[in-house]
Structure formats: C-alpha cells, structure tokens
C-alpha cells in the first residue's frame, strides 16, 4: 500500500467511527465535539479527491461557523435537558429498532446500487480529463465562479441574505403589547 492509500483509509475509518459515535453517544456535548472530528476528517478526504479549496472551505465554515452555532444553541436550550432527558434515553426502544432497520435497509440498497454499477467504465468518466495533483484548482474555481457558474453564485448570495434576515427575524425578542 502506498502512503496515500494508508492515509486515506485512516481518515475514512476516523470519519466513520466518529460519525458512528456521534449518533450513538448519549452525552450531547461529547457528540457535538465528536462531530468536529468527523468534519475535520471529511475535509482530509476532500484533499484526497484533489479538492483542496473545498477542504479549506469545509474547515472554515463548519468548524468556524456551524459548530460554534450548535454549541451556542445547546448552551441556550439545555438547562434541564442535561439531567432530565438523557436519563430517559437509555434502554432499548422499539422506535430505535425501526429506525435502525430502515437505515440498514437503505445502506444495503445503496451498497447494491454502487456494487452493481461499473462506475469506472462509464463513458463520461473514461473520456474525461482528470484533475492532476499539480493543478491549481483555486485558480480554476475562481474563473468558473465568475463565468460558467455566475447565476448559481448570485442565487446563493441572495439565498444567504434571505437566511440571514430570516434567522435574525426568528431570533428577535417579541414585543409584549
């Protein structure tokens, strides 16, 4: 195995194990901090798909923004939940079993779909021009944003403005008349 493969499978295992712990862990604070580990190792896997700019964006947005927001919401909403709800959560539940069956069935479905498709021999992948490790992807992304993907870029910017105004509107204090 080459070092590239060893590192890739290491990060893949790290992603899946930490994601598994996030969904099974009872302690919410620990699961949010483990979410941080999952996001970081996912960013490492983006690097192996030769998308370094996406990896950096992932780290900046998720670790800098989303995680802080989640911790903030947790701190604001979980005073009695810390002791009350988590005691109830232990033990086996029928609804958990149904959820487990649905997700395992879906995993089986996805596995069969991926295993039965011969992805590497698809015509567009065979004919495609691959990104090589030495390419300057940031340069390419900059040019693409301003030319080919200008409309989605503008739509996303309007959407972000809407989300910002909407979140501020939802979080404001209501005046009691």
């Amino acid at each position: 195995m080459s070092p590239e493969q060893i590192l890739f499978y290491f990060f893949a295992a790290l992603t899946l194990i930490s994601a598994f712990l996030v969904v099974t862990m009872q302690n919410l604070v620990r699961s949010i901090f483990l979410f941080f580990v999952t996001i970081f190792s996912l960013a490492a896997m983006f690097v192996f798909a030769l998308a370094d700019f996406i990896a950096v964006t992932q780290v900046v947005i998720y670790v800098g923004g989303v995680l802080v927001l989640m911790l903030f919401a947790f701190m604001l909403s979980n005073r009695e939940l810390l002791s009350g709800l988590q005691a109830v959560q232990t033990g086996f539940k029928m609804s958990h079993f149904a959820g487990l069956m649905i997700s395992l069935g879906f995993l089986f479905l996805l596995y069969m779909a991926i295993a039965s498709t011969d992805i590497v021999n698809l015509p567009w992948i065979k004919e495609s021009q691959q990104i090589s490790p030495g390419d300057n992807t940031v340069h390419q992304i900059g040019i693409n944003t301003m030319t080919r993907y200008l409309l989605p870029f503008e739509v996303v910017s309007v959407f972000l403005l809407m989300a910002l105004i909407g979140a501020a509107h939802l979080a404001r204090k209501e005046k009691r008349s």
Binding site: A51, V66, M70, L76, L81, Q130, L170, A171
Partner: protein, 101 residues
C-alpha cells in the same frame, strides 16, 4: 489513486448514519447533526466525481454551493430550535406536536 467506488461506499455509510440519527434521536440538535451528515455525504460524492471534471469543474463548484446552503440551513434551523425551546420548554421532536398556541 483511490478508486471512485470507495468514496461512494464511505458516503453511503455516512448517509445511513445520518438517516439513523434523524429517525431515532430525541433531541432536535442531534437530528440537525444527522441532517448535516447526510449533506456531507452528498458533498463527498460531489467532490469525488468532480475529480473527473476538469474542464467545467462542476463537482467542486456545486460542493461549494452545497456547503453554503448547509451553513445557511443550520443558522435558520438553530434559530427555530431556540424559538421552539422558548415556547415548549423542550426540544424533543416527539413532544412538539401542536402548531398553534
């Protein structure tokens, strides 16, 4: 070079973990984390296929857009969760069962 199908298997497992969290968790923040897992599985697929698209760079561009959409979604969802907590004094999705006051 890592084969494409390995990326897809990893993202399939990640998606199903997210699905499990969404279906079974008793806390809105954990449900939100499950949704984030599902979105990240999709981003991983975008990026993995984007490697074969040098000319137009579609995979990487839409991965970027998806990250932005996910971040905006989280901001709004957390604002909603805080409001729900103010109103019901709980964020257990099973106990939030009325739309009007």
């Amino acid at each position: 070079m890592i084969p494409l199908s390995h990326f897809m298997f990893i993202s399939a497992v990640l998606f199903c973990l997210g699905l499990y969290a969404v279906l079974t968790k008793r806390n809105a923040i954990q449900v939100l984390i499950g949704i984030e897992f599902m979105i990240n599985a999709a981003i991983l697929n975008f990026v993995a296929f984007g490697r074969f698209d040098k000319a137009t760079g579609g995979g990487q561009m839409f991965a970027l857009f998806t990250i932005v959409l996910a971040a905006a979604g989280v901001a709004v969802a957390l604002a909603i969760i805080l409001n729900v907590y103010k109103h019901f004094r709980t964020i257990n999705p099973a106990k939030i069962d009325s739309l009007k006051d």
